[in-house]
């Protein structure tokens, strides 16, 4: 394609008024005014996606709220079957992963490539540790016959046999979708890691790291609510 040449006489004038357009960063896409606007648009877009995620998880949180209101006794009785300390450990693991993710974004901002790579690897390790603990928990639930609708046994509180299954259904749906988001997150981190190793990020352009960080922290926030709602319901009554 032939480029339109700007006459020398006009060039200086244009450079004064449109210097940002003529001498823009190679990372700036042509439909944005400047890098700042490009960055803000990306983060805003990510937040819009996260709002749809709030709606997605919100439906399940609303269902939880309704059924807990309807069957408080049954929900409290499930606490003695929940691995509270595994849940608490996983909460701490996820918070650590959020810290390393935040530090990964920070090293990308500063152009510290090696640190960025290490922080991404650490975040992945924490994420995988979380999923490993989750797998142990699910296996325990299977062994204890606590999978709703499939050989469900609730001998200690037989009167709650029906209602407790609703809580376990919500438990598997909510933690399952959360775990799915974690798996997707580990995939995103792998992509970021490859990009970082190929030296694709710079202090001028690290948008994928920033918006992936938003996603990772959002998944952390979902767990921050799942932990007290699923694991700590009736502990004070059972010890």
């Amino acid at each position: 394609m032939r480029r339109t040449r700007i006459p020398t006489s006009r060039r200086s004038k244009l450079a004064d008024t449109h210097s940002a357009v003529l001498e823009h960063s190679p990372d700036l896409q042509h439909h944005f005014d400047d890098m700042h606007q490009q960055f803000d648009s990306a983060t805003l877009g990510m937040w819009v996606f996260l709002l749809t995620e709030i709606m997605f998880f919100g439906g399940m949180f609303a269902a939880y709220t309704i059924y807990r209101g309807l069957y408080p006794g049954a929900f409290a009785s499930t606490s003695k079957h929940m691995a509270t300390w595994l849940g608490a450990t996983n909460t701490a693991v996820l918070i650590c992963s959020s810290l390393t993710m935040a530090l990964a974004v920070r090293s990308a901002q500063l152009g510290q490539r090696k640190l960025l790579i290490w922080m991404l690897i650490l975040t992945m390790i924490f994420g995988l540790a979380f999923l490993g603990v989750k797998a142990v928990e699910y296996h325990d639930k299977y062994v204890e016959h606590l999978i709703p609708g499939w050989d469900f046994q609730y001998e200690e509180d037989p009167q709650y046999w029906h209602q407790a299954q609703i809580l376990f259904f919500l438990y598997f749906a909510m933690t399952g979708f959360h775990a799915l988001h974690m798996i997707v997150g580990v995939g995103i981190l792998t992509t970021l890691l490859v990009m970082a190793m190929r030296n694709r990020f710079s202090p001028a352009w690290y948008t994928p790291v920033e918006i992936s960080g938003l996603y990772w922290h959002f998944v952390d926030i979902v767990w921050i609510f799942l932990f007290p709602l699923l694991y700590l319901i009736g502990l004070h009554a059972h010890k």
Binding site: M35, G69, M101, L103, R106
Partner: protein, 100 residues
């Protein structure tokens, strides 16, 4: 260029507070406070969420448009819970019609 760089010690401080609240919420759950157990648990969860959103998710440095969107998300969530519960909680307030 884009965001101001937050010092490492701020991130670590936020992390320490989050870990502290995690163990607080787990420990407090063993104390019987009647209906206030859930209130305390959710209050701690909301504080933790705000710390993550404001510092880790950089809403502190975000422009007002982004902030408006974030608030809109919680506004929507409030409508979802409030309106749904206002149905379930008020069903017995009015007498049910008898068989005709």
């Amino acid at each position: 260029m884009t965001h101001e760089v937050i010092p490492v010690r701020v991130y670590v401080a936020i992390w320490a507070i989050l870990v502290f609240f995690t163990f607080t919420t787990a420990a407090v759950a063993f104390i019987d406070m009647g209906p206030f157990n859930i209130v305390v648990a959710l209050t701690i969860a909301v504080i933790k969420m705000l710390l993550v959103i404001i510092w880790f998710m950089h809403v502190k440095q975000a422009d007002n448009l982004t902030r408006l969107f974030v608030v809109a998300g919680f506004f929507w969530m409030a409508i979802l819970i409030f309106v749904t519960l206002s149905d379930y909680h008020t069903r017995e307030w009015l007498p049910l019609p008898h068989m005709w």
